[in-house]
C-alpha cells in the first residue's frame, strides 16, 4: 500500500510511541485538527494527552524542557512548523543539547529529536522558507538528517527517535504529499548513511531532501532524451563525510553534482567536495558542481521567485553543462513545471 510522506512521519511517531513508552510528542499544533500537515493526526487519541500535547509559543524554553526530559530518560520529539521559528532556540540547541553528553564527560545522554519543516514557494518569503541545515550540521554533537523519500520519512524518523543523541530532523514541506510504499523497518545506520537510489554510468548526482525527487525526474528525462544515465545518491544524512556509495560512484563517473536546498554560502557541499578531493585518488581532477539557492533572502512575490528554485530543469541543465551536451528542448520549464511556486495540485495554500 502506498502512503504519503506525511503519513509515514505519522506512522513513525506512532510506532515509536508504541515500542517505547518514554517517547513524547509535542509541538505547536501537535493536537490540532490538522495535526501539523497530517503528521501528528490521531496520536493524542491513541497515546493520551500526557504523551502528545500542544505547547506555548516559547521555542527557546521548550527546547530546554525537552533536554530536561531527555536527560531524565524520556525521548521527546519536538516539532516546529517552520525551521525559521527554531532560530529562537539555538542557544538551547547549540549550548545545551549538542554539548550535554560531551561537556559532562558522558554522564548524561540527550536523546531528543527536533523536527523542523522547511518552506518553499507560495510567498513563504524571507522568514518562512529558510533551509539553514548548516546551522546544525556544523555543530559537533548534533546529527542532521534530511529525508528525501517516503521510506526515509519513516525509517529515518524512527532511527532518530531511537537514537540516544540529539537529532535535527529537517522535513521539506514539498515532500509531504509524495507517495510510496514503505518497509516498516529502520536501523541506526539510517542516521549516518547515504543510499544509492538509481544506478547509472555517466554522472553522480547527490541530492538531498526535496532535491531528490527532482533529481530522479531529471534522470528519467536525461535517460529518455539523451541516453545519459546518472547515479542518484540520496543525501539523507547531511554530513561532509563522503559515504562509501558516493566514493564508489564518483570513482566511476568522476563527475559530481551536489543538489542542496540550502543557499550557496550555507551548503555543506563545499566541505564535502574538499573532502572528496582529499580522499580520492587524483581528487583534484574530479569535476564537481554545486546546485544551491543563491545567497539572498527569499523574496515573497511569486514574480520574484520565478526561476529561483532548483528543480528537475536546473539539474538537467547542470548535468548537460558538465557533460557538454545541449539541453535545449529537453524540458520546457514554463509549461511543464508550472506554477513554479507550489509543489503540486494537492497544495491548496496558503501555508
Amino acid at each position: 500500500m502506498k502512503i504519503t510522506f506525511s503519513k509515514a512521519i505519522n506512522f513513525a511517531i506512532r510506532d515509536s510511541m508504541r515500542d517505547d513508552n518514554k517517547v513524547i510528542c509535542m509541538g505547536l499544533g501537535a493536537t490540532d485538527p490538522k495535526g501539523v500537515f497530517g503528521t501528528t493526526i490521531d496520536l493524542e487519541k491513541e497515546f493520551g494527552s500526557k504523551r502528545v500535547f500542544d505547547i506555548p509559543t516559547s521555542e527557546n524554553a521548550l527546547t530546554g524542557i525537552c533536554i530536561g526530559l531527555s536527560i531524565a530518560g524520556y525521548k521527546p520529539l519536538l516539532t516546529h512548523q517552520r525551521l525559521d521559528f527554531a532560530l529562537l532556540s539555538l542557544d538551547q540547541i547549540i549550548n545545551n543539547a549538542a554539548k550535554a553528553h560531551y561537556m559532562y564527560g558522558g554522564e548524561i545522554c540527550c536523546p531528543l529529536v527536533i523536527r523542523m519543516i522547511m518552506g518553499r514557494g507560495w510567498g513563504q518569503g524571507p522568514t518562512h522558507s529558510q533551509n539553514l541545515q548548516m546551522l546544525f550540521a556544523g555543530i559537533p554533537g548534533l546529527r542532521v538528517v534530511m529525508p528525501g523519500t517516503v521510506q526515509d520519512a519513516y525509517s529515518q524518523l524512527r532511527a532518530s527517535i531511537n537514537s540516544n543523541d540529539p537529532v535535527i530532523f529537517l522535513e521539506h514541506r514539498w515532500l509531504h504529499n509524495s507517495e510510496s510504499q514503505v518497509v516498516y523497518d529502520f536501523s541506526d545506520q539510517d542516521l549516518v548513511t547515504q543510499s544509492l537510489v538509481k544506478s547509472g554510468e555517466d554522472i553522480t548526482i547527490l541530492a538531498c531532501s526535496y532535491m531528490l525527487p527532482e533529481a530522479i525526474k531529471a534522470r528519467r528525462i536525461l535517460k529518455e532524451k539523451l541516453g545519459v544515465t546518472a547515479d542518484i545518491i540520496n543525501f539523507r544524512s547531511y554530513r561532509a563525510i563522503p559515504d562509501e556509495c558516493l566514493i564508489k560512484s564518483i570513482n566511476k563517473t568522476r563527475k559530481l553534482i551536489v543538489a542542496d536546498t540550502a543557499m550557496r554560502s550555507f551548503t555543506i557541499a563545499d566541505q564535502l567536495s574538499n573532502n572528496i578531493r582529499d580522499l580520492l585518488i587524483d581528487g583534484n581532477s574530479i569535476d564537481i558542481r554545486i546546485l544551491s539557492m543563491p545567497d539572498i533572502p527569499e523574496p515573497t512575490s511569486h514574480f520574484l521567485t520565478k526561476g529561483l528554485y532548483n528543480d528537475s530543469y536546473t539539474i538537467i541543465s547542470k548535468t548537460c553543462e558538465l557533460l557538454s551536451k545541449d539541453c535545449r528542448g529537453l524540458i520546457n520549464r514554463d509549461t511543464e513545471l508550472k506554477p513554479h511556486d507550489v509543489p503540486g495540485e494537492w497544495f491548496k495554500g496558503p501555508f
Binding site: T57, T127, F303
Partner: protein, 325 residues
C-alpha cells in the same frame, strides 16, 4: 451615544468599516490565486486598531505581526501599496519582497510587521527608546497577540521598557487563540494579562475589544499615560477572529472553536453594534455615502494592484545591503 461625541463615533465606525471591507475583499479575491502568499485577516478584530487610529500621529511609531493589515491601515498606511504588496507587485509597500506579513509605511511611522511571533516586540521597544531619545513626545505602539505573550521577547522587552521608562504602548488583541490552540494549553488558568504586565513593570489598561467605544476610551487613557512619559503601558483588548487563522475562509467545521462561542462573538460584531447606534443619528447619511466611496476606494486599490507591474526580476538580488560593495 450620549456623553460621547457623535463625530468620533462616526469616525470610529468608518475606520472599522474600511478595514473590514478591505479584508473581506482580500478573502473574496484570494481564490483567484493571484495573491500568492499567506494572509492573516483581521475580520472581527477591527475595533482596537480603529480606536487607536484616532489617538496616534504619523510621527508615532508602530510595529505589528503576521496579522497586520488592520494595524497598517489604522496607522495611515497606504492602501494601494498594501494590496499591491499582497499581489507581489513592484508598487507594493515592500516592493514585493515582503508580502502580507511584511508591511511598512515609514511616512506614517508604521515601521514593519514580522512573520515570526514575538519578533517585532523588541523592535517596537527599540523604537520607543528612540522616541525617548528624540524628546519629541512620540510614542511607539507594539501590536501583539495573546500567543506572543508566551515569547520571552515580550517579557524581556517589557522589562527593558520599564527599566528605561520608555514610551512604549503594548497593545494586545487577545483573540483567545494561537492558530488552533486555545489559551488553556498555552497559559495558566485564570491568567490575567494585565496583572502579568503590571508585575513586569507596565501600567495597564483593559477594555472591550469588540466595542469600539470601549476600545477608544481605554486606549485614550493608555495613550495619554504613555505619551506623558510615565513609562511603558500595556493594554489588553479581548476580541475574536472570524475567519481561519491563515487564509480567506472560515474554518468553523474543524471544531477547534465551539459553535456557541463563535456565534456569541459574531453576534457581538463591533461594526454591527456601531451601525445600530448610528441608525438613530443624523450622521447616518454621511456614513452611507462613505460606504459607497469606500467601495470605490477598495475597487481602485485592487485595480491598482492588479494593473501594477511585476517587480523587475533583477531586483531580487538587490537591496541585500544598503550599499552594494
Amino acid at each position: 451615544m450620549e456623553r460621547f461625541e457623535g463625530s468620533i463615533q462616526l469616525e470610529l465606525l468608518k475606520r472599522m468599516r474600511r478595514i473590514r471591507d478591505v479584508e473581506l475583499r482580500i478573502a473574496e479575491e484570494y481564490s483567484q490565486g493571484e495573491m500568492r502568499c499567506p494572509v492573516h485577516l483581521s475580520v472581527g478584530q477591527e475595533a482596537p486598531s480603529s480606536a487607536l487610529s484616532l489617538l496616534v500621529y504619523p510621527s508615532d511609531y508602530a510595529v505589528s505581526t503576521h496579522r497586520g493589515h488592520a494595524h497598517y491601515l489604522a496607522k495611515g498606511g497606504d492602501l494601494n501599496a498594501m494590496i499591491a504588496e499582497i499581489y507581489g507587485k513592484e508598487t507594493g509597500c515592500s516592493k514585493g519582497k515582503g508580502g502580507s506579513m511584511h508591511l511598512i509605511d515609514t511616512t506614517v511611522g508604521f515601521m514593519g510587521t514580522s512573520a515570526i511571533v514575538g519578533n517585532s516586540i523588541p523592535t517596537g521597544t527599540g523604537l520607543a527608546h528612540a522616541a525617548q531619545l528624540n524628546k519629541t513626545g512620540q510614542i511607539s505602539i507594539i501590536h501583539l497577540g495573546d500567543g506572543a505573550i508566551e515569547e520571552g521577547s515580550f517579557y524581556e522587552s517589557l522589562n527593558y521598557a520599564a527599566v528605561k521608562n520608555l514610551p512604549a504602548l503594548y497593545l494586545c488583541e487577545n483573540n483567545f487563540y494561537s492558530v488552533y490552540s486555545p489559551l488553556n494549553v498555552r497559559q495558566p488558568k485564570n491568567r490575567d494579562f494585565c496583572f502579568l504586565a503590571k508585575s513586569i513593570g507596565a501600567k495597564t489598561f483593559s477594555g472591550d475589544g469588540n466595542c469600539v467605544i470601549s476600545s477608544y476610551k481605554t486606549l485614550k487613557q493608555a495613550v495619554k499615560y504613555c505619551r506623558s512619559g510615565k513609562g511603558p503601558t500595556f493594554v489588553e483588548l479581548k476580541t475574536y477572529r472570524w475567519l481561519e487563522h491563515c487564509g480567506p475562509n472560515n474554518d468553523n467545521e474543524l471544531g477547534y472553536r465551539e459553535e456557541r462561542e463563535i456565534e456569541y462573538w459574531m453576534n457581538n460584531d463591533p461594526i454591527k453594534k456601531a451601525e445600530a447606534r448610528l441608525r438613530k443619528r443624523p450622521e447616518k447619511d454621511h456614513y452611507k455615502n462613505y460606504c459607497q466611496a469606500l467601495k470605490k476606494e477598495v475597487d481602485d486599490a485592487f485595480e491598482f494592484a492588479k494593473l501594477s507591474s511585476a517587480p523587475d526580476i533583477q531586483s531580487r538580488s538587490k537591496t541585500i545591503f544598503s550599499t552594494e560593495q
